[in-house]
């Protein structure tokens, strides 16, 4: 089968590799119909995530048709068109019993801090991802969700990570009616966090980035205010000037370890890798939020350490919330929002690229060429299929 293949930082290609097999009675094999490149895939692509092995296939946002199932699978059958949450989770461990599916303790032998994730290095379990024609899906009765009949596949694939992560980012902010919410990052997750902040009753939503076309998009799509940080001297002062000197009620980090905007952080965290990425946005969040406010973090950071002003967070009495999204938990409500027309996730998709051109797709997304916001990879032969899921058999 055709699959994306990592060869080192900034180097990928498509290769033919052996199709995955059922390795556990709870597995399914899924034929991929859509897979996205996520902003966090770029951390792998840039060589920032430890234990990213040469030959890995990335991709944790995908939809597909079930081809075969293991002997223990009871609720999924060949032919089902499913969306697959990026978390690989068992549904029964101590953490899954608390609906913390992103923290599952049964699917990642290589690390305890994170659960299993498709195509996200051996630090997240050593699974191949969905940027391929076929993928092994463990715990098939637990993770995958059959796509509701009539749902656009482009909406469905964004339910596997980007939309739930953006929603959870806003939700972890504990937004109350009328709150001022500042979101750092105008990528897909930041865009969905902005939309979600309104659903949660925010009074004011402000998105910060430095990529002009993305700011233009989010201003229109999420009907929010925007700040181009290239034109801001000091972020904390700027936010305080916008909020009667107090700071925002909620600040949300949707950027993570490859943030621009601070030379020292970029040098130490990205160029020299002396910390787990650039903590620029964490600084901005802690210093721009009001006393007693909440900082919500969904941006991905490396596992080592980061220099952050934790003393300020203590003195301001902040609440810090963070986690990988617990995707399955959010799906019923987010599907309702899509079906009710409150969110149209697919509008963030700017590029639809053949899987065979995956190297170009990554470069376009990574370098923000051609006004790229979100890229969907389509395996050869799939592009002509209907774009909506058929009713389940």
């Amino acid at each position: 089968m055709l699959a994306m293949n990592y060869r080192g930082p900034y180097r990928i290609r498509t290769v033919h590799k052996v199709e995955p097999e059922i390795e556990h009675p709870g597995d399914a094999i899924v034929r991929v119909t859509r897979s996205c490149i996520c902003g966090s895939d770029l951390h792998l692509y840039h060589g920032m995530v430890p234990d990213t092995r040469i030959g890995s296939t990335f991709g944790h946002e995908f939809t597909g048709v079930v081809e075969s199932v293991g002997s223990a699978v009871q609720h999924l059958k060949p032919g089902d068109h499913v969306l697959v949450p990026f978390n690989i989770f068992c549904g029964s461990c101590y953490f899954c019993q608390k609906e913390l599916y992103g923290n599952c303790h049964s699917t990642n032998p290589e690390a305890t801090a994170v659960g299993g994730i498709y195509g996200y290095s051996h630090t997240a379990g050593g699974y191949d991802g969905g940027q391929a024609e076929y993928v092994r899906v463990p715990m098939a009765d637990v993770g995958p969700t059959v796509i509701p009949a009539g749902m656009d596949l482009d909406d469905a694939v964004l339910l596997t990570d980007a939309l739930p992560t953006g929603y959870q980012a806003a939700e972890m902010g504990g937004i109350r009616e009328g709150d001022t919410v500042v979101i750092f990052g105008a990528g897909p997750v930041g865009i969905f966090a902005a939309k979600s902040a309104w659903l949660l009753g925010a009074g004011r939503v402000i998105v910060v980035d430095h990529v002009d076309y993305r700011l233009e998009f989010v201003r229109s799509y999420a009907q929010c205010e925007v700040i181009d940080f290239k034109h801001v001297g000091d972020m904390a002062i700027h936010i305080k000037n916008m909020t009667h000197g107090l700071g925002a009620d909620v600040c949300i980090d949707c950027v993570g370890c490859e943030a621009a905007g601070n030379f020292a952080q970029t040098l130490l965290g990205i160029k020299l890798k002396l910390q787990g990425g650039a903590a620029t946005v964490l600084h901005w969040c802690i210093n721009s939020v009001r006393k007693g406010g909440t900082v919500s973090i969904v941006g991905v950071y490396g596992p080592t350490f980061n220099a952050v002003p934790i003393g300020n967070a203590v003195n301001k009495g902040l609440t810090l919330r963070m986690n990988q999204a617990s995707v399955k938990r959010h799906l019923p409500r987010l599907i309702e929002h899509i079906q009710a027309g409150r969110i149209e996730p697919r509008r963030v998709i700017t590029h639809r690229i053949d899987l065979r051109d995956v190297a170009d797709a990554y470069h376009i997304f990574s370098s923000k060429l051609d006004h790229c916001i979100k890229t969907v990879l389509v395996p050869p032969g799939v592009a002509q299929e209907a774009t909506t899921a058929a009713a389940s058999h």
Partner: protein, 174 residues
């Protein structure tokens, strides 16, 4: 999975009337991840703990665990020098910086191993294509030209330096 009812949508405040869906989840009972920990989980079917997956390849596991997990990925088992570094790294816990630094080192070593593997199979990697050169040329021709110019200048400088060195060597010998 039980889903919260949608009957308590509030009317948006006048200033937010233009925002579709404003306040739909203002009530915390409508928020799917509130409270943070929720038991029992609202999964569509009852779930039994998974059987142990059979390990047919070498799978490293964190020293913070007693053994491998019931479910795991089997791709790309450790091999070669990078594999030895990874095994060393997994002697240290995730709490120990050496664990992560050795894994990063192993990643860089494996880049070289991957290159050697390619060449040994008679495959010369197309770095231009692998790094998205075609997309760069199409969507950022000026940037592509700048990179090409920098590359050519770097090669020219190296060539000049080598030539000068050889010339200097001849003079010394003469």
């Amino acid at each position: 999975m039980d889903t919260p009812a949608t009957s308590n949508l509030r009317s948006p405040s006048p200033s937010h009337a233009h925002i579709i869906g404003w306040g739909a989840d203002i009530d915390r009972a409508m928020r799917p991840a509130y409270p943070k920990e929720r038991t029992p989980p609202r999964l569509p079917h009852p779930v039994e703990p998974p059987q142990q997956q059979r390990a047919d390849v070498e799978v490293l596991h964190s020293t913070e665990r007693p053994g491998i997990t019931p479910i795991f990925g089997t791709t790309l088992p450790p091999a070669g020098l990078s594999g030895r570094l990874r095994r060393l790294a997994f002697r240290h816990s995730e709490n120990d910086l050496r664990h992560w630094l050795m894994l990063l080192l192993a990643d860089r070593v494996q880049m070289g191993e991957g290159l050697i593997d390619d060449l040994s199979r008679g495959h010369v990697p197309n770095l231009y294509a692998e790094m998205g050169g075609r997309a760069e040329l199409k969507h950022n021709p000026l940037g592509a030209a700048r990179k090409a110019a920098i590359g050519i200048a770097a090669v020219a400088l190296v060539a000049m330096a080598l030539k000068k060195r050889r010339g200097g060597g001849r003079r010394l010998r003469g």
